[in-house]
Amino acid sequence: MRIPTCQTMILALSKDTIKVTQEQDVVFLKNRVKEVAVKIKMGLVNQTRLLTAASELVRNMMRYGGGGSCLIEVVSSGRSNGVRLTFTDKGQGIPDIEAAMRDGFSTGKSLGLGLPGTKRLVNEFSIKSKVGEGTTVTIVKWANG
């Protein structure tokens, strides 16, 4: 019997949602992401990349989205495992995503590295935003990607 394989198929193996509304939640979230990364035997450099990316996104969510929630999933593409994080807020939204993804662009007082920098640190990155409704950012980091 042949087992059909699909390259783009991503299976979620475990799910966990964490609400982030204050600074203590940020520390808790980072610890949980680290736990999950260690559990799927992600290398140290990739762990650092994932945690740094999570740190950037959670800050954005706190600063511009007024808090939100993060869904932590262990995902599998058949051959390798990874961590998928989905950050959702119901904040002001991003009017111009293209500009927000550009290095050095910021509406706040920051360096404007958060979103483009995060994209460089992870394997998959997608962002959806609607002004007045909120923003969702999804990232995937494979254990050995």
Partner: protein, 136 residues
């Protein structure tokens, strides 16, 4: 509230960050450190980040700020002990930490600070061996 201790050692201030920084802690450190530089007339600041596993763009900016602020208060800043994974992440993130002196460890950082002060100040203390002084 948590605080990161700042130790005085001769003309230098030593900061060892033993916990993962969160935003408010980093901002407090920035303010405390700049005030300590002024209060103690410190000539150099040594920041050990060997126990820090994540430096994101905010923390990177704080480190850069501390260096620039100390500089205009006539003190040099050296960041020591950065983990290789942190260095990789910082560059990929797009934050090369320009203008911040770095050294591999405490000892080399201390030598670097001493050499910087020697060349700008009086040259009394010349028994430093120049060969193990690391530059940026």
């Amino acid at each position: 509230m948590d605080k990161i201790p700042i130790l005085r050692m001769g003309p230098f201030l030593l900061v060892t960050i033993q916990v993962d920084l969160y935003d408010r802690l980093a901002l407090t450190l920035e303010a405390d450190l700049v005030q300590m530089v002024q209060k103690t007339s410190a000539r150099g600041v040594l920041i050990d980040i060997s126990a820090v596993s994540i430096v994101d763009s905010f923390m990177g900016r704080i480190i850069g700020n501390i260096a620039s602020m100390s500089k205009i208060l006539d003190a040099e800043t050296v960041v020591v002990g950065m983990q290789p994974a942190v260095a990789i992440t910082l560059i990929e993130l797009g934050l090369p930490l320009k203008g911040v002196y770095t050294a591999l460890n405490m000892e080399k950082g201390m030598n670097l600070l001493k050499s910087m002060i020697d060349t700008s100040g009086d040259d009394e203390d010349t028994d430093l061996s120049d060969d193990d002084i690391s530059t940026e």
